[in-house]
């Protein structure tokens, strides 16, 4: 009976006593891969100390003296004195083809000789952790013995996972590499958004998504039990982790490992300063299947167009409790129940058309009402008018200044004094508790009812078409000029003012130009004009931020980096010309007056324009106040999280957003402990990251008819949100805080936008957005600044190369790639209109991932 074996002596035949992980590590070592050396404590050693295996955890064993001696000798033989090792589980049923047990058993890093025995016993004990127990229960497994791998620590500067097949795509042939800085623990726990590379079977990079790597587990960590996460230096956060050469080397190694084991594998790897180390290889156990949905669902666009990532479980939990029952969340995205919505609409349309309407792809003027449907819904309409007509008319009378004067102090008082649990607080501030409440306390209803400007714009188009036939329809958008007090306009003005102040002082300009603007701005004196102005800005807009609908996202007040980057962009490239836009508005108004002639017609059109202006302003302003509500709810959740972190019931900041509120309550009341939720949090974080990389399906159980025009590879179709035609350089911007390269006069191509993107808009020549509608934020702000804007352009991020020249026609609704450069030429895509061509330029040089990006 052997208790300890060198890793070199292990192979796949010994899996019954070494476990899958160790057997594969041994096989890799024998095949010549660079695997950190070490030894294995076999399952026999485990059985020596646990002769009877039960589901219940046994008391900690007393180590047999002979085993202790053998362990100490093995450590001395394999490692230098004082060297630190990794102690890793290798249970007999772990890392098999059916079950991975990934993350269910323990791993300990940076263990010295003095802590080795305890680490081995802790590893054994993790066999009975609640997470492992739950995993076994799901898979109907009993407890199996556990071997333990003791390996040399790699001082990993970069690490990650490499899948020999894309787990999200059952079609073989594409290797996926996920990478982060430091040790890979942050990645496998789902705490960092990694870079994601796809390499095809010919070795070409076909996709690269640079993650915002905010945290890392540093290679120099010495205390595994302490707080291991550190912030990634700001200038590295969006820098690619791997060079092309390293990525290709990893791709080759993964293919060789797949060949060695004759099955699809996921490989954990790490680079120290120069060398690639293989830390683990196991079969890929899951190929993601689409969720089974037995209903017909359509994506709810108004949220998706502002926020294409999925919501975190806490946000879903809280929103699901307050949103109407005509929809449901699927994998973090809100969908409408098609079969519940359909009978409510008096429209004479086929299912395909109704899908287009629900996806906000049709303007109201193109809708056809059915007489039968109208009669059927007349009673419903009358009841709706009786029930909601009062609020409808009240919302037509709310003055924006009243919202500011009354809502903000009211919310502040409620934040400080309410003892309601978070979900009840959320419902209270979003929906009110009584029909007698003032309209400004019913912010969600105000926002919804302000959407009627969409109908009024339809009316305006009809009136101008009939009464002013000579008026250029392209100038209609110029007629709508929003209030200058609208919050989004004020925000742009304030960012511009910040940039002006920064520019006028050498030290602040230098600080913003540096690679670490936050650190440099912190060095400025507290009474520096820029610091004072920044403080005032945060008082007004500190509750705003990127992806602000999701409660898990830090606001500008908490993380000022995205804001400083916007200010820097404005300082370097800003060229706002509000005067020109207002002049266009005046010219359009004058032309219309001359064309209409009749004073009665002018009065009617002006009245419609005033109402449009009012409702557009109300809708944008209520969005500003919504975010205050989300911020208040987030603050309350953070307070609860702080309490749970202090009690060691949660491990890491942000974990609370990956729990449901009932689970948080169970933690607070002591009905659940840290061990009960840690595996759950890890699993949900990983699932959330996986979902974040995919655009949400527009429908479930329904077939969307593809537009014929999409078939041309060099032309992409979309919806016109602000008319106009422009030609220029396309600049891909994935997130508002990543807009470093955006220059005035360029055409921004973005997956989505939300209000925090507003300051980026003024200097742009055009905007192309992957998702959205006429009503979306991008459309509203683009019309305000009179920037040609096309929304709902499928595949724009994938198919428009960054830096390529494009022609944007937002009047007829398409964007066209201009083929004036041989090296950027694209071939027609034979695989279907939505697939990504492999012919995107792929770099050859070692450091050209950034350039390819």
């Amino acid at each position: 009976m052997e208790w300890i074996l060198p890793l070199e002596r292990i192979n796949l035949k010994s899996v019954s006593s070494t476990g899958g992980k160790a057997a594969r590590l041994g096989a890799l070592l024998q095949a010549g891969f660079n695997v950190p050396g070490g030894f294995l404590i076999t399952a026999e050693a485990f059985q020596l100390h646990h002769p009877v295996l039960l589901e219940e955890a046994p008391p900690p064993p007393v180590l047999v003296p002979a085993f202790r001696t053998a362990l100490a000798e093995a450590f001395t033989r394999h490692f230098e004195p004082g060297e630190a090792v990794a102690v890793r589980s290798s249970a007999i049923d772990e890392d098999g083809a059916g079950m991975s047990f990934a993350g269910q058993h323990a791993t300990y890093y940076w263990i010295g000789a003095d802590r080795l025995e305890q680490a081995v016993m802790d590893c054994w004990r993790s066999l009975w952790s609640p997470a492992a127990h739950a995993y076994r229960t799901v898979w109907d497994q009993s407890v199996h013995p556990m071997a333990v791998v003791v390996q040399r620590m790699v001082r990993a500067t970069r690490s990650g996972v490499c899948f020999s097949h894309d787990p999200l795509d059952p079609v073989p042939g594409t290797v996926v590499i996920e990478s982060c800085f430091g040790l890979g623990a942050a990645l496998v726990d789902g705490r960092v958004q990694p870079d994601r590379l796809k390499i095809d079977e010919r070795g070409g990079i076909v996709d690269l998504q640079i993650g915002d790597k905010q945290v890392m587990v540093p290679a120099s960590v010495t205390d595994a039990s302490g707080t291991r996460l550190e912030p990634v230096p700001e200038h590295l956060r969006t820098t690619p982790v791997l060079t092309t050469r390293e990525a290709i080397a990893l791709h080759e190694a993964t293919e060789q490992i797949e060949f060695l084991f004759d099955e699809a594998v996921d490989v954990e790897w790490a680079f120290d300063e120069s060398q690639l180390h293989i830390l683990q290889a196991r079969p890929i156990t899951t190929i993601a299947a689409p969720p089974v949905i037995d209903r017909r669902l359509v994506l709810f666009k108004p949220i998706a167009e502002n926020f294409s990532e999925p919501m975190t479980p806490m946000s879903v939990d809280l929103f699901a409790a307050v949103l109407p029952r005509v929809g449901e969340f699927v994998r973090g995205r809100l969908y409408l129940d098609f079969d519940r919505i359909k009978p409510l609409l008096p429209l004479a349309v086929e299912d395909a058309e109704l899908i287009d309407i629900l996806l906000l792809r049709r303007s109201p003027s193109s809708l056809r009402f059915s007489l039968q449907g109208l009669l059927k819904s007349a009673a419903l309409g009358a009841a709706a008018w009786l029930a909601f007509g009062t609020f409808w008319s009240r919302s037509a009378r709310v003055r924006p200044e009243v919202l500011e004067i009354r809502f903000v102090p009211w919310l502040e008082r409620l934040k400080q004094h309410s003892s309601l649990p978070v979900p009840s607080f959320f419902k209270r501030v979003l929906f009110g508790a009584s029909p007698w409440l003032p309209a400004w306390q019913l912010m969600l209803q105000l926002n919804v009812s302000a959407g009627r400007y969409f109908l009024l714009i339809g009316v305006l188009h009809q009136l101008i078409r009939r009464w002013a036939t000579d008026f250029d329809p392209e100038r209609i958008d110029d007629l709508v000029h929003e209030s200058s007090t609208m919050w989004s306009k004020r925000m742009v003005a304030d960012v511009t003012a910040l940039a002006t102040i920064a520019r006028s002082h050498d030290d602040s300009a230098r600080a913003l130009r540096s690679e670490e603007p936050i650190e440099q701005v912190r060095q400025l004196a507290t009474d520096h004009p820029f610091v004072l102005a920044l403080g005032q800005f945060l008082v007004r807009f500190g509750h705003r931020g990127p992806r602000e609908i999701d409660l898990a996202t830090p606001r500008w007040r908490e993380d000022v980096t995205p804001l400083l980057i916007m200010v820097r962009n404005q300082m370097l490239h800003g060229s706002d010309e509000p005067g020109d836009r207002y002049a266009r508005h005046l010219v359009a108004r004058d032309l219309l007056r001359k064309t209409l002639r009749s004073s009665v017609k002018q009065a009617v059109v002006n009245a419609v324009l005033r109402r449009i202006r009012y409702y557009v302003t109300l809708r944008e302003d209520t969005r500003h106040y919504h975010t205050m509500i989300f911020d208040a709810v987030r603050s309350r959740l953070l307070a609860v999280e702080h309490e749970l972190l202090n009690e060691d019931k949660l491990k890491c900041a942000g974990d609370i957003f990956f729990l449901r509120y009932s689970e948080v309550e169970a933690l607070r009341s002591g009905h659940a402990g840290a061990r009960d939720v840690s595996a759950l949090i890890r699993e949900r974080r990983v699932a959330h990251l996986r979902e974040s990389r995919c655009l949400p399906p527009e429908t479930f159980g329904l077939r969307v008819v593809k537009r014929q025009e999409d078939r041309s590879y060099s032309t992409l179709r979309g919806q016109c949100a602000c008319t106009g035609e422009v030609e220029g350089i396309a600049r891909i911007v994935l997130r508002a805080d990543q807009a470093h390269a955006l220059k005035p006069g360029e055409i921004m191509v973005a997956p989505y936008t939300d209000p925090s993107w507003t300051p980026l808009f003024p200097p742009l020549a055009g905007i192309v957005v992957g998702i959205g509608s006429y009503l979306s934020h991008a459309g509203t702000i683009a019309r305000e600044y009179r920037i040609p804007c096309l929304v709902d352009v499928k595949g724009c991020i994938e198919r428009i190369p960054d830096g390529h020249r494009i022609r944007l026609n937002a009047t007829e609704g398409f964007v066209e790639l201009i083929h004036d450069s041989a090296d950027m030429e694209l071939e027609p895509d034979a695989g279907g209109e939505d697939s990504i061509s492999e012919t995107s330029p792929v770099p050859d040089s070692a450091d050209s991932i950034e350039a390819w990006r």
Binding site: R325, L386, S393, S418, A433, W440
Partner: protein, 96 residues
């Protein structure tokens, strides 16, 4: 006649009630007073012209609008969003 008048007066009752709440909400312009005065004048005129039917019709119309407003709110809360009717909150207007 009373039923007919009630149906005709419903939109005016809604206007009256909406304007009154808008005034209570704060920040409403003088227009709201004008609306209220016009509707009140209309109601008084109808009482003079139809002394038998108008008083009842006017009261019923206003009562219906208020009733539907209240029941509509709670119906929406309960069936639309699933918030229990008794979950009202602990701090109306933020004051304890």
């Amino acid at each position: 006649m009373t039923v007919f008048l009630t149906a005709v007066l419903l939109p005016f009752a809604s206007l009256l009630y909406g304007a009154a709440l808008a005034l209570r909400d704060g920040g409403a312009p003088v227009w709201e007073w004008v609306r209220i005065l016009v509707v009140v004048a209309l109601f008084l005129t109808l009482i003079i012209v139809f002394p038998d039917a108008a008083p009842v019709a006017e009261v019923v119309a206003v009562a219906m609008i208020v009733l539907f407003h209240v029941t509509g709110f709670y119906a929406w809360r309960l069936f639309g969003t699933g918030i229990p009717a008794d979950e009202k909150g602990d701090a109306k207007d933020g004051r304890r």
